[in-house]
Amino acid sequence: MDELPSEVDLLIIGTGFIESIISAAASRIGKSVLHLDPNDYYGNQWGSFNLQALLDYNPDPSEPCDFRNKSFSLKNFHYEWLMEDQKEDLLKNSRKFNIDLTPKLHYCRGDFVQLLITSNIARYSEFRSVTRILTWLNGQLELVPCSRSDVFASQKVSVVEKRVLMKLLTSLDDILDSENTHNFKKFLESRKLSDNLVTYVMAMAGATEHTSLGEGVKSVKRFLDSLGRFGKTPYLFSMYGSGEIAQAFCRLSAVFGGIYALNQQNLISLDSEDNRITSLTTTKQQIRAQNYVTSLEQCSEKFLRPVKINNYISRAILITNKSILPSEQEQLSFLIYPEGTERIINVFELGSLTGTCPKNYYLVHLTSKQVTTPQEDFKGALGNLFSGSDQPQIIFSCYFSIPETSDLDFENVPENLFLCPGPDNDLDYNSSIQKAREIFEKMYPDLEFLPRAPDPEEIIIGD
């Protein structure tokens, strides 16, 4: 077998979303990149798994090593078959599942979609529109109207309300300057919107009762700005799951010369001297680089002081036997479920057309800020959505907690070592793209971040 190169410009450990973007960006501008992962799959905590691989997922490998940092691994990982008789059939179709640890949506006019288009990475991936947005109001599911025509077609909104709402939505820019209240919900209520309308607008903003006016308005604007580009709602979902996305960036990196080696279990240590990393030692060789990028998950404790994780993301993954709101055609639903006064549970319900589960089943992802445990955090919502006789049944459930690491700071990190946090609790990738861009700009301050890659036909092959 080939040996890895002994000297590169940039050595990256971990194939999570942020590391993968940095890899693509560095290769793209001609840096030699070696991209390693101790795991035998792409994506770290951003990855996706078939059903069998999810069952085999082991967040806490027993043997400690310099490249598995237990502080940042998934916690409370637990799964359960609620309908044991379906197990065999589902495992037979294991490969038809692509189950994200961290599912994300993309705003049709958001930074992610823009970056994919401007960098030409879009050619490696396909998407589907989220076909409907739901919320939970007065003990039942409600469709959130997503366009002018939706609003006007809705029978739940009176003519007067329609006028008030349209006026409100078209004057968002002026609101911030002119309002006294700082609370988004109180502001909406002060505009004499009915409970229904307040709930809809809150859902568009993904807002809780504590969301500030500024945040709320910003979020609603983002929602509205992304309407009317692809499909009926402002959101896209990646075909075959969000785990494909890191791989698309890695492919671009590889096309521009990045060297990929997964399943690297022979890594020993990152060696440092005078506050700089000097080399990576493996069982076979030493590899030197100018800069080093690593995921927190795969970074030794010795560079990460202090480790104090304050927040976790609660996750649940369900396989169900029908949609929470059946309709003639298969829907890709995004349910914004307000839980109490300060928490939103984001629920994605994915059918077989997304390439993430077999026909006649649904894959349901729940994500929320963690309060107690994932089981407790979702208990109320699951009780409301999956317990009635005409409601879908849960065949399989899996729970875990993801450490929220996007806001952590560490002291005395070697100056040529750049740390990539794991997933955040945002609906989309915007903050993570920002993080990748920041790291890239620290390493290569004057160079362009992911300029358009030429199409294959534009590359001339030399003789």
Binding site: M1, D2, L4, Y41, Y42, R95, K96, V113, L116, I117, N120, A122, R123, Y124, S125, E126, F127, R128, S129, F230, G231, L236, M239, Y240, E244, Q247, A248, C250, R251, A254, V255, F256, G257, I259, Y260, A261, L262, N263, L353, G355, D455, P456, E457, I459, I461, G462, D463
Partner: protein, 208 residues
Amino acid sequence: MASNKKVLLKVIILGDSSVGKTSLMNQYVNRKFSNQYKATIGADFLTKEVTIDDRTVTMQIWDTAGQERFQSLGVAFYRGADCCVLVFDVTAPNTFKSLDSWRDEFLIQAAPREPDNFPFVLLGNKVDLEPRAISAKRAQQWCQAKNNMPYFETSAKEGLNVEQAFLAIAKNALAQQNQSVDLYNEFPDQIKLTNTQKSNGGGDSCAC
């Protein structure tokens, strides 16, 4: 009717490093060969229009981009393949031995609906080089045991049999797609973010 639709065939090329995957693609699409071995820098996918039984189809041939070198091709690479081309070097026995694992890997990762009928094509490349390590007979025997996989002996360097091999690949890919499209289109209405269609002359852009 499916036959009126623009047909795009995705073909992926697999095999050990340096068996000539990129060179075969380049020879076929650009009619160029480079002796310099670069571990596939800049090779992504190439497209070529071919006419099969009066139908014009666009064949998109995907290179491994070097990610096979340390067994690091992600599952995303295999999505939606209509045909898989396996390549070995007739002068390097190890590359022939790897064929089974490449085929298995494809079937596992791509998980085609009918694994037994999925079209593979085998290319024994570098027939211009000596000494030869794997005879045509041995390769054909392997193919027979694999549901009569078509076999071509090629030289990317000299352009030998390359055109014929890819034509067979296109035919098999098309047959595969016709079958599956007629049954049902598994994932309709996918969105590509690239909505600018290039105004390509539609033919071979080779200027040499």
